[in-house]
Amino acid sequence: MSDPREIEKMTTVDRCPVAFPLRQPGQSFPPPQYLEFREQEGLVSTTLPSGELVWLVTRHEDVRAALTDPRISSNPSHPGFPRAAKTGGVPSQDEVPGWFVALDPPEHGRFRKTLIPEFTVRKVREMRPAIQQIVDERIDAMLAAGDTADLIADFALSVPSLVISSLLGVPNADRDFFETRTRVLVTLTSTDEQRQAASKALLRYLNRLISVKQKRPGDDLISQLLADGTLSKQELSGVSMLLLIAGHETTANNIGLGVVTLLSNPQWIGDERAVEELLRYYSVADLVAFRVAVEDVEIGGQLIRAGEGIIPLVAAANHDGTVFERPDEFDPSRSARSHVAFGYGVHQCLGQNLVRVEMDIAYRTLFERIPTLELAVPVTELPIKYDGVLYGLHSLPVRW
């Protein structure tokens, strides 16, 4: 597409914007329309609940291009950024200083570089024994309580929640507090007022926690970052909030969904390829990467004007049949490594290695210690989070 007139011609094609979000009750996930969108020329536009028009990016190649193009920004302070209510809008730096997923290079780099040493493959491997202990204790508690459980509340959510709070140095006793506030932030139907209140409460809480750690440092990441001094106290609150939220909610959805899939595909239990394929297959963070063009840019044969919003849909990219054969099948024998479930480019998930280890230990240990585990309701009756920014299950009733 080198001739600019051709690009011009394509953008004028009259296309009826599709409804958004596409994940609807009774429909399979990823939404079947993604297939049609990938096959269309150019990109498909949609209208957010607020009335803003955004471009949906669905092909694997285009999603990677959109997530790495310097003319496309993650910063919600740019005009046109898709940040409508009911779509899990992104806070700006003014609202939450240190919320560095909302920054572009080079400002973003200062935060990322400070944190990556804590999430390397090696560092995360060293956390294995601590994660194993958390997983074992959760299973001990489930077994002690009887022969049924809600695997989301009792396991899938509690494991990553305990892991990230222990890493950051957030007291376990405060889990209820931050889990309920996080739930507001990741629910599509939350109002702006509810969202702001939850975000403020979390920030206030973390500010107090940081003040305590200034006086009495512990053996945790917040104390370490305080001592390091690269981030201001205010920025550290925002960074902690981001890590806390990202660290438990996304992993919880992955663990829960993965258990359902592995129950019907037991031959893959304990095979680490299953983790990578589950990440691709479910792509729970489909609605997380919101962007805006800050200059005119062409993506997938579509001219996007400066100031127009863009949503690269990672679940669509991860089900692109030109990259993953039979994309809607769960097949860990494929090479799923090129999936973009953690995003792509400078903002790709900082904690991705931690997620992989948590999922691996969770599945191995759960099925080893409770070999008779089964669903307590038919799979079709599992309550799916149609109202969630992240794809997942509200609850997962099991018995053994």
Binding site: K113, I116, P117, T120, R337, F342, L350, N353, R356
Partner: protein, 54 residues
Amino acid sequence: MRISVDTDRCVGAGQCVLSAPDVFDQDDMGIVLVLAEPADEPAREAARRGGATR
């Protein structure tokens, strides 16, 4: 096969280490290191998956 790394562009995600642990590593700051040239075709294929090829 020639492997070069641009440490300024490295985002420290560790994808290369997971794909080809005999070829790539991360330093204490999380930035990519090249341990060795891939020894055979499977290792070269793994190295390709671990990095952006062009």
